[in-house]
């Protein structure tokens, strides 16, 4: 983690020039079928040299639209309705064509959202970084190449010529983001718009990438507009925080005072919903591990799973007591989802024993597994993809019931099924009026509630939750987590919770296992693992959690 004091020192040395970027009463609208929909309303802020302003907000709050408007790259149909964007005192929001292009990349550059799709897949990465130089400088081929080598060293690459010649698919996500950062700083811009620069990256890689942006900014005095949904990242990495809600700036404050004492009610609401601040976290921490040996719901012994020559899960053992939450954390490719798939019978283990509710899974054929499927349900990260688009909510939730009823008996069970579906929806805090809505009309959080209702309708005993809240906004995350906690205490459910997000895991789990490259590197009670990690890898993961400034008030 880099220090947070340094940017202030740098700024003091160069003060007090005017703002390098000013957004003044900006409103942006999109043309739709029926008139113009306003996405950003009357937003104003200023950004001084070397400053970091974090724009936070939930999806649809307009934070990305502001970033696009500053670069003059609004999607088709988007238009600045009023207000202005000023770069070094000069209005740029009314420029177009060549004059705007001359500013993009040189004065204001972009670090894009998803590094895996932001590089041209069929070009070597070196020339892609060179684009910025070719467009904005008169350097010749040799000089450009030399400069790219320099930039690659700057972003932490060692074999720069080899990197220069590699293709995007040969680089990991974090390395691709380094390439994109090199391209963003190539022409020495004064402002960088970083639009969710670490979404989709693992926590440790996220920390490295954010450190790099921090470091470059300190060296060159570049101002950064950091657009993020992650309040933790905003709190750790910015001088100023702007909270957006429905296109309006709800609050704009220095980060330190924002974290300590948010003035706006919505800001307070967001901060209260950060996983590390959730109220039931503390309740759970107080729950002492029971003295008597608990009855196990899931027992996994020496489980391994190979795909071809690749080992996805390697000699894993753990036990989940009944009515408790066992979490598996790890970065992408650690084998956590494969473990979940084995537990739910979606994949067979290559070796080892898996016992769920006293039944050995390994030997079961798909058919013999069916009775157990009533008791073991799974909820996925993206429920929408697992809903038949023609079904309404009733049919989606009823489907598992029907699959356990003899074919042709649907009429007989109609009444009963309907009541059970309504009960499941109610358990998931959805009104019965949702029965005939279609999943496409629902928000992300509502869809996840439907998915939970579908898992509950068979009255299972074990629910495997595979990243159930990763795709949701922070306040919705909090609601779903709370729902899960309530359901567990009411129905005595056993959860196996799969997540990459340690803050969330801490909020919900009793026990946790940390996986890396198919192995469990550490497992134990949640408090023990989080407070006294035995493995250096766990410590590294914990160190990479964003939002340490939020956790301690």
């Amino acid at each position: 983690m880099s220090s947070h004091a340094a940017p202030r020192a740098a700024r003091d040395a160069t003060s007090p020039p005017g703002p390098v970027l000013a957004v003044d009463g900006l409103s942006v609208g999109y043309r739709t079928g029926h008139g113009t929909k306003t996405a950003v309303r009357n937003v104003s802020f200023e950004l001084g040299p070397g400053q970091v302003l974090a724009l936070v907000g939930e999806s649809g709050s307009g934070k990305s639209t502001i970033g696009h408007a500053i670069l003059g790259l609004l999607p088709v149909g988007g238009r600045v309705l009023s207000g202005a964007v000023r770069y070094q005192g000069r209005t740029i929001s009314d420029l177009s064509g060549d004059r705007l292009r001359a500013l993009r990349g040189r004065a204001i550059s972009l670090i894009p959202q998803d590094p895996t799709v932001s590089l041209d897949p069929v070009r070597r990465v070196g020339p892609q970084v060179e684009d910025a130089l070719r467009l904005h400088t008169s350097l010749d081929t040799e000089a450009r190449r030399a400069r790219v080598h320099e930039l690659f060293e700057l972003v932490g690459f060692h074999h720069v010529e080899r990197r220069y010649r590699q293709f995007p698919h040969e680089l990991s996500g974090g390395m691709r983001q380094r390439v994109l950062i090199a391209a963003a700083v190539a022409a020495e811009p004064d402002v960088i718009v970083a639009d969710e620069p670490t979404s989709g990256l693992d926590a440790t890689v996220q920390a490295q990438v954010l450190d790099l942006i921090d470091d470059l900014r300190r060296r060159s005095g570049t101002a950064v507009l950091l657009i993020t949904h992650d309040l933790g990242v905003a709190a750790d990495r910015s001088d100023l925080v702007g909270v957006l809600r429905d296109g309006r700036l709800a609050e704009l404050a220095p980060t330190a005072s924002f974290v300590r004492n948010p003035r706006d009610e919505y800001s307070r609401h967001l901060l209260d919903n950060v996983p590390s601040r959730l109220s039931f976290t503390r309740d759970r921490a107080g729950r002492a591990p029971s003295e008597r040996p608990e009855e196990p719901a899931v027992e996994v012994t020496n489980l391994s799973k190979h795909y071809g020559g690749h080992t996805a899960v390697d000699d894993v053992s753990f036990t989940v007591p009944r009515g408790r939450t066992f979490s598996i954390v790890g970065e992408s490719g650690s084998g956590k989802s494969t473990t979940a798939r084995v537990l739910t019978g979606l994949t067979r283990p290559t070796a080892g024993q898996v016992s769920v509710l006293g039944t050995q899974l390994g030997a079961l054929s798909t058919k013999a597994f069916r009775p157990l499927r009533r008791d073991v349900q799974i909820v996925f990260q993206n429920p929408y993809a697992s809903f038949d688009p023609r079904f309404d909510v009733l049919s989606v939730v009823e489907e598992p019931l029907r699959s356990f009823q003899p074919a042709g008996s649907s009429r007989r069970h109609r009444r009963e099924n309907r009541d059970r579906v309504a009960a499941a929806l109610e358990a998931a805090s959805l009104p019965a009026s949702f029965l005939h809505r279609h999943p496409r009309e629902l928000s992300g959080g509502q869809r996840q509630r439907v998915a939970i209702a579908r898992a509950l309708v068979l009255e299972p005993k074990v629910v495997v939750l595979d990243e159930p809240i990763s795709a949701l906004d922070v306040s919705v995350q909090a609601q779903i987590l709370e729902l899960l906690v309530t359901l567990q205490s009411e129905l005595g459910l056993t959860y196996v919770f799969i997540s990459h997000d340690l803050a969330v895991v801490r909020a919900i789990s009793d026990r946790v296992a940390v996986m890396r490259r198919g192995r469990i590197v550490e497992q134990g009670d949640i408090a023990q693992v989080f407070e006294r990690p035995a493995s250096p890898y766990t410590a590294e993961l914990l160190g990479a959690i964003a939002g340490r400034r939020l956790a301690h008030r």
Binding site: P112, Q113, L119, P121, R123, S172, M175, S332
Partner: protein, 346 residues
């Protein structure tokens, strides 16, 4: 890489054999052939003995399996047999006709590629909406008009009305323009449809947005990113268009009264001259297979991801056949374990 090539080559040989065999089965299953027609024609007044001698001469008195094996054996020795209607060696017949058809298809191919590129690019980049709409509907129209109609329209317009090009083959290059243009229009239709769809898809990719944010204009983005990405599906389509080119040359040669493989095919089918039809099938399949072999070789040169797959021994044909280039992390990539940083760095 060499192994990959050998494998593709083996596939090509397999396809040739399969096409030849399939054609043989189909043709023998049909009632009648040139010799049977000769014998059964009452005007010829052949005695049954004469018929037997004729059948024996052409090897038609053997069981079908023996006929097939004999033909295959002869083929392996480079002998395609003799025409049943005039006794000329099939290889000579085809050898004489091939250059003309090759010239025609080659020029047709060039026309097709140029038209497709122009329509695809102009249709995607024009500022005028009416032109965009026009250029997007023309390929669909061209694809649904039979090539003989196009040929006749060109013939009546450019030859009979404007007298720009000769109506019959007089051996000049100018005489080639009419039929080649007909062929070109035909194959350009699917090519330009795929090309513009693929340009559109590529321009929606996030990396194009990033290039814009770097300060690049449309022309720069097209030259440095869009062109290469969107040419991948077109390349696949080129291989398929080869089939149309061959089929189209039959019709076109008939309409423009040109000598060539097309004319020979027409005559051979009319007279049920089996060895000649077999020869034509073989030549056409060879052309098709060769072009697709080239496509297979060129593909990894353009797309490093396919190259990597080949080098790693996992040739994924799926990527080739998809309409728009799958750029983001596909299912397979998402499922694959990501290498930890230090391993990826090597």
């Amino acid at each position: 890489m060499a192994r990959h090539l050998l494998k593709r080559l083996a596939h090509a040989v397999l396809v040739l054999w399969a096409a030849y065999t399939l054609a043989f089965i189909l043709l023998t299953a049909l009632p009648g052939n040139a010799i049977a027609n000769l014998i059964n024609n009452p005007q010829n007044q052949l005695t049954p003995e004469d018929g037997k001698i004729l059948k024996a001469f052409y090897g038609l008195d053997h069981p079908v399996v023996v006929q097939y094996l004999r033909a295959l054996d002869a083929l392996l020795h480079g002998n395609l047999g003799y025409s049943l209607s005039n006794g000329v060696k099939v290889s000579d017949l085809l050898g004489d006709a091939l250059p003309g058809t090759l010239r025609l298809t080659a020029l047709g191919f060039v026309f097709g590629a140029v038209i497709a590129a122009a329509v695809g690019v102009a249709g995607s980049y024009t500022r005028w909406n009416w032109l965009r709409t026009l250029l997007r509907s023309v390929p669909a129209l061209a694809a649904s008009v039979p090539s003989f109609v196009v040929g006749i329209l060109i013939l009546s317009g450019f030859s009979f009305e404007l007298h720009l090009i000769p109506a019959v083959d007089n051996g000049t290059l100018l005489a080639l323009v009419g039929p080649a243009f007909t062929l070109g229009i035909m194959i350009s239709a699917p090519l330009s449809q795929v090309f513009s769809a693929s340009i559109e898809a590529t321009r929606r990719q996030p990396f194009v947005h990033v290039l814009q944010a770097r300060g690049a204009g449309e022309r720069y983005i097209f030259g440095h990113g869009v062109l290469r990405n969107s040419s991948l599906p077109v390349l696949t389509m080129l291989g398929l268009a080869m089939g149309e080119l061959i089929a189209g040359s039959v019709v076109t040669e008939a309409v423009f009264a040109r000598n060539g493989i097309g004319q020979i095919t027409l005559n051979a089918v009319n007279t049920q001259d089996l060895p000649v039809v077999q020869g034509v099938v073989l030549v056409a399949t060879t052309g098709y297979v060769l072009v697709n072999l080239v496509v297979d070789v060129v593909h990894p040169l353009i797309d490093p991801r396919i190259r990597a797959d080949i080098l790693a021994g996992r040739a994924k044909r799926i990527k080739r056949s998809t309409g728009a280039t799958p750029v983001g992390p596909g299912v397979d990539e998402a499922m694959a374990p990501r290498l930890p940083e230090e391993v990826a760095t090597r």
